[in-house]
């Protein structure tokens, strides 16, 4: 099995916490993993991405080739489109619909949605809203991970295990909130795929 994921967002949105959870889930399954991140200047409000590769065989390149990603997982709608050339035919575009507007020429929300809907396989989810309803706005990234989880070749339980590993230090409440967020994202994706 092999899953190649492009994680996308804006510097400061915390895509690396998603990456860390997937990483833990992969380790739980004894899988190989390579994950290239962006540090430095772009972290100051610029476009950021992370290339995440999981496989049961040894992985060669840290970078995913163009046209080879199984999933684009974006915590920001416009950013989900920036990496389309990396998505393989039949791959899934999973994106948050809450925009992060820090540039003057940010496009209209409807135009962005229209582009997203051109994809054959997409999940567009208002993760911020779902997270707020669960009482924890900060869990929106985990809602996003839940929404992308059906498209990984990994069991849902391994994601739950990843959450427990990553958030365990912060106490039972935080773990439970994030587990709820993960399930809420998963349910949305199952209903809307």
């Amino acid at each position: 099995m092999k899953t190649d994921i492009i994680l996308a967002g804006v510097g400061g949105q915390g895509i690396l916490s998603i990456a860390a959870t997937i990483g833990m889930a992969a380790l739980h399954n004894d899988l190989h993993l390579k994950q290239a991140e962006v540090h430095g200047m772009s972290q100051r409000g610029g476009a950021v991405q992370s290339n995440m590769r999981i496989s049961d065989k040894e992985i060669a390149s840290d970078l995913i080739p163009m046209g080879a990603a199984d999933i684009i997982l974006s915590v920001e709608p416009m950013e989900s489109l920036r990496y389309l050339p990396f998505l393989k035919k039949g791959g899934w575009l999973v994106t948050n619909t809450t925009p992060f507007i820090n540039i003057p020429d940010y496009p209209e929300a409807e135009e962005i949605m229209a582009e997203i809907k051109k994809q054959k396989n997409f999940i567009a989810i208002d993760a911020d809203k779902i997270a707020s309803e669960l009482g924890s706005k900060r869990s929106s990234n985990i809602v996003m991970l839940g929404a992308a989880s059906p498209f990984f070749e990994m069991s849902f339980e391994s994601f739950e295990e990843g959450i427990r590993q990553i958030f365990g230090r912060k106490g039972e409440d935080i773990v439970n909130t994030n587990l709820k967020a993960l399930r809420a994202g998963r349910e949305f994706a199952e209903k809307n795929r």
Binding site: R44, M66, P85
Partner: protein
């Protein structure tokens, strides 16, 4: 044996810790910062009293590491590629002194300039200094090379370079660790004049360095990190260096690779291995991350012989980072090079944070300088370089650490008066102070803005050596106390800030203006909060 999930940078740090390192020295610089941060965060390193404090700049770091080596212990110094320019004097001469305890220099290159001013290749420096280089192709090798690099250094009594690039530095993978080695005891060099580079001694040491070359080349030939992987199709042979090997192999995940391949991860170039390929193959494709160093050296040998292709003839791009698709094209495979991104996707460049003090300082400066006209603000390396972008459009240069002050001086010497420098607190103590002495010595008409946010911001909020000392340093250097002005950069203080800047711009001598407010990214840093209280800065 333990399996850890580590960034390339972290793998180097862990390898050095397990390999018996007694101290690490560095100034923060993307993509090298996380090596030292990992040691700073290591409980083991704290227990064993392993040195890991930041240095003022890369030169002081390099020299301290050399000093620790003199005293017989294993040391590491880390920097980004342009930091090696700062450390170059000490670096090149360290190959003439040689080492006592093992010494590793890690230089992290940044092809495609993700966070840098150029994409220079540190292998040139190592070649110039005639020392071995280790260039890992993955995180496991990064770990092992730090571990094994100390032995290599002690075997040849030479410093060893580990060269990485951004991609490996900031990519995570599983790493298996090796058995922990003990630190060396303090021991003096057997020859107490080894490090005295008087010409007579330097000439002798240089002959030793030259005589050592055959040995380090043989070590490359025998290295387990250099491999000749034979293949039956000799129409083309492929030479890869470092992580370029991965991009080659990515293209053969579901295809047979029948061509001979050389994977080079240790230098000097293993000449016999390469010559065997040149003799056997009709054509050579060289895939190296960074500058075409191997390609150029082969072209030298082979002007009329086997064709050598790579970055120099356009088979691969002359600049920028490699990726699997570029390598696929070089191999003649079908591939995608630039897919279409929907037109509505706009660029999202990095920007200064909401609430950042640099923003208020620039707004005041733009107002204060308006009467003199644009084109006279020389800035430096740090978050405030983003003042070049709209809506501020506030600066006209960013060249190297410290260049703001000295370029402003040169421009003032040429008659561009007033000239303004903008520099951060940490950059000031890195390389700004010496330029300030030049200004004071000549009473140059320059206005120097030291935008003080109590941290090294761009690289993630590391300690600043300037903390609580800037006025003392400026007075000590000889800036007139009346022309050292401290401001609090806030919107509500705008009128006062503009007024003070106008006064100092009009002064025909050296002025230092210090807009001072804590970096918003460091608000959760408890250690810094306590320091600020102790220094009465909060």
């Amino acid at each position: 044996m333990q399996k850890l999930l580590l960034l390339g940078d972290e793998a180097i740090a862990q390898g050095a810790l397990d390999g018996g390192m007694s101290g690490i020295y560095a100034y923060p610089g993307t993509p090298s910062t996380e090596i030292t941060e990992y040691v700073q965060g290591s409980k083991f390193a704290t227990e064993k009293n392993i040195h890991s404090q930041w240095s003022a700049n890369e030169k002081t770091a390099m020299e301290s590491a050399l000093g620790m080596s003199y005293a017989g212990k294993r040391s590491m110094v880390c920097m980004k590629h342009v930091g090696l320019n700062v450390a170059a004097d000490a670096f090149v001469n360290s190959s003439i002194t040689g080492v006592n305890g093992g010494l590793i220099i890690v230089s992290a290159d940044d092809p495609s300039m993700h966070s840098s001013q150029n994409e220079q290749d540190s292998r040139f420096y190592a070649n110039f200094a005639m020392i071995p280089v280790l260039e890992p192709s993955n995180q496991q090798e990064a770990y092992e090379m730090a571990y094994y690099g100390f032995e290599l250094s002690e075997k040849f009594k030479l410093p060893v370079m580990i060269r990485i690039t951004t991609r490996l530095a900031h990519s995570r993978a599983g790493v298996e660790t090796l058995e922990l080695k003990k630190q060396n005891e303090v021991s003096l060099p057997s020859n107490l004049r080894q490090f005295v580079l008087l010409p007579a001694i330097a000439r002798k040491n240089y002959k030793t360095l030259l005589a050592n070359q055959a040995g380090i080349e043989e070590a490359s030939e025998q290295s387990k990190y250099n491999k000749y992987i034979d293949g039956s199709d000799k129409k083309i042979g492929v030479i890869t260096t470092g992580i370029a090997y991965n991009y080659l192999m990515e293209n053969f995940q579901d295809k047979e690779l029948n061509n001979p391949v050389i994977k080079i991860c240790q230098y000097p170039i293993p000449r016999n291995m390469v010559m065997k390929m040149v003799e056997e193959c009709d054509k050579i494709l060289v895939i190296e991350e960074g500058a075409p160093i191997i390609e150029e050296s082969l072209k030298g040998y082979q002007e009329a012989g086997t064709p050598i292709v790579g970055r120099l003839d356009g088979t691969l791009p002359r600049d920028g980072e490699l990726n699997p698709n570029l390598v696929a094209k070089a191999l003649g495979h079908e591939t995608i090079l630039d897919g279409t991104i929907p037109e509505l996707v706009k660029n999202r460049p990095p920007s200064m944070c909401v609430g950042c003090g640099h923003i208020d300082a620039y707004e005041a400066l733009n107002l204060a300088i308006a009467d003199y006209g644009v084109g006279r603000v020389f800035a430096d390396i740090g978050c405030y370089t983003l003042g070049a972008l709209p809506p501020y459009n506030a600066i006209n240069s960013c060249v190297d650490m410290g260049a703001s002050i000295t370029m402003a001086k040169g421009a003032a010497d040429a008659g561009l008066v007033p000239s303004v420098a903008v520099i951060g607190d940490s950059t000031f103590t890195h390389s700004g102070m010496t330029g300030l002495i030049d200004c004071v010595y000549e009473k140059s008409p320059v206005t120097i803005i030291i935008s003080d946010n109590f941290t090294t911001g761009m690289t993630g909020g590391q300690d600043s050596k300037a903390l609580g000392k800037i006025e003392d340093i400026c007075r000590g250097i000889g800036v007139e106390p009346d022309h050292i002005r401290v401001l609090k950069p806030l919107k509500k203080n705008m009128d006062e800030m503009v007024q003070i800047m106008k006064e100092e711009l009009a002064y025909n001598g050296v002025s230092v203006i210090i807009p001072r407010r804590q970096c918003v990214q460091t608000m959760k840093n408890k250690k810094l909060a306590q320091q600020l209280i102790n220094l009465n800065l909060k």
